[in-house]
């Protein structure tokens, strides 16, 4: 059965296998012949007679009003103040992999500032041959690269350590976005300043810092800085949004979002880490015995079914159902996702919409014939390093309940026979 599901060449076989697996016959196809005419078809509609908006009605377009609930949402009780807080991307209502900037989650420590390009300065200092200052214009004159990367807050799913708590994938998994960035490799800028003064680069660090009042700063090992880190100024083709660090932010592929410093103003080359607030008192993971892990930068492989889910219930009744979800890994590309509909008794290999790419979201689908019975939906990601997404129990056994960060457990949605869904834990 599972083999049938993994046969990507034959969607027909997959469909049939799914139907058989669910014990559903062909009973779902009951509405093929309608007795009443549909007035939407038989009567001339208003929109087919009068004209619509002209061009320029919205010089910068927003989603149509019928989609106005597809927005970022905040959980008020999480933080003392929205100025130092986080909200969540509406991943229950999105498909594909690219997150539109306007609904990509925000995380601020001292609010989203307005920094004009003319007032932007980027300083490279410390153990470099020549300490430099770049303007925004300078950044646009270096050779550019484009990459799609996910940015996930280390605290994504952090409210679920002790148990099923938030009833919606937006809230359990929405501290993530995935964009196509245009920017300059950080190594190009470091090379411009010259690293001979740093001597032995092994064991050297950079400290990156933002221009906002929080001065959010993180230490990053030189190997990573010279590998794939970008200073990005465009996302999804357009300028970064204010809330994502306009005019320039750091992109640290695969590593926790806190390191993706927004409004990047300074990169210092150092021979040791700074041990700033955000890498000691925060973004460290306390284990059961009270010892805490630090420098847990890489985001482990993770996946979640985005629909159906509590905010995206099944409204169409039994019959064909698209189970859709996202998978990602901070250590490489996703190469397989398994999905179960019975809480892990049997698993099927899902169809990847496109081959996984490194440190970017991958969309997966499992197309089934739903028999209208309750389901326990789960997904399990595999990445190219051989990592397999663990269950919540496995994670708790290793880390206890107080890690806060880096919860990449398998998520369970209980789909009821009426199509509604709830966040649950199961035996």
């Amino acid at each position: 059965m599972a083999d049938d599901f993994s046969d990507k060449k034959s969607s027909r076989r997959q469909f049939l296998a799914g139907a058989a697996a669910l014990g559903a016959g062909s009973t779902a196809a009951s509405s093929l012949s309608a007795s009443d005419d549909d007035p939407l078809i038989t009567e001339v509609q208003e929109w087919a007679q009068i004209t619509g908006d002209g061009v320029d009605a919205t010089p910068y377009g927003l989603p149509i009003e019928f989609e106005k609930d597809v927005v970022r949402r905040n959980v008020g009780w999480l933080t003392a103040d929205t100025i130092s807080s986080i909200n969540f991307s509406p991943i229950h209502a999105l498909d594909g992999t690219i997150t539109p900037q306007g609904c990509a989650f925000e995380r601020h420590h001292s609010g989203a500032i307005e920094l004009r390009k003319e007032n932007y300065r980027l300083m490279i200092n410390g153990l470099v041959d020549q300490e430099l200052v770049f303007t925004y214009e300078d950044l646009e004159r270096f050779p550019r690269e484009q990459h799609v990367y996910f940015c996930e807050c280390a605290a994504n799913t952090g409210m679920e350590w002790a148990g099923a708590q938030l009833n919606g994938v937006q809230f359990t998994h929405g501290m993530i976005h995935n964009m196509e960035y245009t920017g300059v490799p950080l190594r190009t800028l470091l090379n411009e300043a010259g690293l001979n003064a740093a001597g032995d680069l092994k064991g050297k660090w950079i400290f990156v810092e933002g221009a906002d009042a929080s001065s959010n700063g993180r230490s990053i090992p030189m190997e990573k800085a010279l590998d794939d880190v970008l200073v990005a100024f465009k996302a999804n083709g357009e300028a970064l949004r204010k809330e994502h660090g306009y005019p320039a932010r750091l992109v640290v592929p695969g590593w926790e979002g806190n390191m993706w410093v927004k409004w990047l103003r300074r990169v210092e080359v150092l021979d040791k880490p700074v041990e700033s607030r955000e890498e000691t008192s925060k973004y460290t993971d306390t284990l059961a015995e009270g010892i805490s892990r630090k420098w847990t930068w890489a985001m482990d492989a993770k996946s979640v079914v985005t629909s159906p889910s509590p905010q995206s219930p099944i409204l169409h009744g039994k019959g064909p159902l698209v189970i859709s979800g996202l998978a990602w890994s901070g250590r490489g590309a996703i190469n397989r996702v398994d999905v179960t509909i019975d809480g892990g008794e049997n698993w099927y290999e899902a169809r990847l919409a496109q081959p996984g790419t490194k440190m970017a979201l991958t969309r997966f689908y499992l197309d089934i014939e739903w028999d209208g019975e309750e389901m326990f939906l789960q997904s399990r990601a595999h990445d190219e390093t051989g990592y397999v997404q663990p269950t919540k129990e496995e994670l708790r056994e290793t880390r206890g309940l107080n890690s806060i960060y880096h919860n990449n457990c398998i998520q369970t949605w209980w789909i009821k026979s009426n199509g509604e869904a709830e966040n649950v834990e199961i035996s």
Binding site: M1, D69, R73, N74, A80, D81, H109, S110, G111, N125, E131, L132, V133, F134, R141, E145, A164, Q165, R187, E192, G194, N196, D200, K204, E209, A213, S214, S215, P221, E223, L226, D271, K272, E275, S276, R277, S281, T286, A288, G290, I291, S292, R293, W295, T296, W297, A298, R331, D342, G344, E345, N346, W347, F376, R380, V388, N423, V424, I426, S427
Partner: protein, 391 residues
């Protein structure tokens, strides 16, 4: 790729750099890195200069340098390079003790962190929690969790107070940090914290951290043979999110932008024009400018529909309100005495206050230093007036 090799051959100057770095990469570790770092880039081409060069076109610079940017001046570097390392590198000369620190803390920090660093509402507590890290609910404070004192100094200096960062003098920072240490029973009240005594302080949880060990301690998550069929039976629900009921309810899609709030309140003002004739004559341009100027206030003060007291009191209908009169808000002493003297907020007093809060209300806990430009003061007042009809 062949292009980069050509460049490699041509750019003889670079070869030395290449060999040097290649050797260095094979050399010793100075700082222990998490095992994760290995999989990032051990096979990464150490010749990043060549990569930079290859990224340039064939007509680009041969050494990967573009001649962009300009040299940073010493004063520029000094202005921005404020990070402090665990060994004290970066600390300025200065000192302060907990006795003075208590005063400074009360003025700048207590409004969020509490008089005893115990934390107000959801704001972080800074003291207590010793030996709780293995408990069900660990209390993580500077005393119980932070491994390095430098982090506290660095953070207070660069990021605090919230809403008015980088405004504390070095001596005040030493004093505040001394007070936080004292609140955690780490030093006595007469201990003078300075750049010289800094390393004498021992943080209780300094040995409480290990470098990321997931590759070994969680090695069982790799290459696991996964079961695909008949893996278990009798699946039962053990916990439901609906039982907790802490998920935010669906909201109506409100226009929550401040500009919308202005419109609403102006409309409301219009409806109640009899009572508030003067308010109807607001200058919309000035209100708009005031909305921008008000950004400096809004980390602490809410205004508009449903505004609540936060770090500062809400500002709806502030004019004609008795100074210091919002029930339930903890005002500074100065505002309480103004209230007892029957003082009322009017345009005149507001102009004076916004120009220099500390001069107008000596001892106010409000950290804002005042607007420098008169037009910011006038526009802010106009903006405040546009919320005169709200409670």
């Amino acid at each position: 790729m062949s292009k980069s090799r050509d460049l490699f051959a041509v750019a003889g100057i670079c070869v030395f750099g290449v060999l040097l770095i290649a050797t260095n990469f094979a050399d010793r570790f100075v700082t222990q890195l998490p095992q994760d770092a290995k999989i990032v880039s051990l096979d990464f081409d150490p010749d990043f200069r060549m990569i930079a060069a290859a990224e340039a076109s064939a007509v680009g610079p041969r050494d990967g340098k573009f001649g962009l940017g300009r040299g940073a001046t010493k004063r520029e570097v000094a202005a921005w390079d404020g990070d402090i390392s665990p060994d004290g590198t970066g600390l300025p000369i200065g000192s302060g003790d907990a006795i003075y620190g208590e005063e400074v803390f009360a003025e700048h920090c207590a409004i969020c962190h509490g008089d005893f660093a115990e934390g107000v509402d959801n704001w972080p507590e800074l003291a207590g929690g010793l030996d709780t890290l293995a408990d069900e609910d660990p209390v993580k404070t500077v005393g119980s969790y932070w491994p390095y004192l430098s982090t506290t100094w660095d953070y207070v200096k660069r990021s605090m107070p919230f809403g008015y960062a980088q405004s504390l003098s070095d001596d005040d920072v030493y004093a505040i940090v001394a007070y936080i240490l004292y609140s955690n029973d780490i030093v006595d009240e007469d201990f003078i914290l300075s750049n010289e005594t800094f390393l004498d302080v021992e943080m209780p949880n300094k040995s409480g951290f290990i470098v990321d060990d997931r590759l070994t301690s969680e090695a069982h998550f790799w290459n696991k043979k996964v079961c695909m069929s008949d893996c278990k039976s009798d699946v039962k629900i053990t916990m439901r999110a609906a039982v907790l009921d802490v998920t935010p309810a669906d909201e109506k899609n409100e226009d929550s932008e401040a500009s919308a709030a202005v419109t609403t309140s102006l409309n409301q003002v219009g409806e109640q024009s009899e009572a508030l004739v003067e308010v109807v004559n607001l200058d919309p341009g000035l209100v708009e400018a005031g909305e921008k100027a008000f950004k400096k206030c809004k980390s602490c003060h809410q205004i508009g529909d449903g505004a609540k007291n936060k770090t500062g009191p809400h500002l709806n209908s502030i004019f004609s309100r008795k100074i210091g009169s919002i029930e339930g808000f903890k005002y500074s002493k100065i505002f309480k005495s103004m209230r007892d003297n029957g003082r009322v907020w009017d345009e005149e007093s507001m102009v004076e206050f916004l120009a220099s809060p500390k001069q107008y209300a000596k001892g106010t806990k409000m950290s804002f230093a005042g607007f420098k430009k008169e037009k910011d003061i006038l526009s802010t007042i106009e903006y405040l007036k546009s919320f005169q009809a709200l409670n």
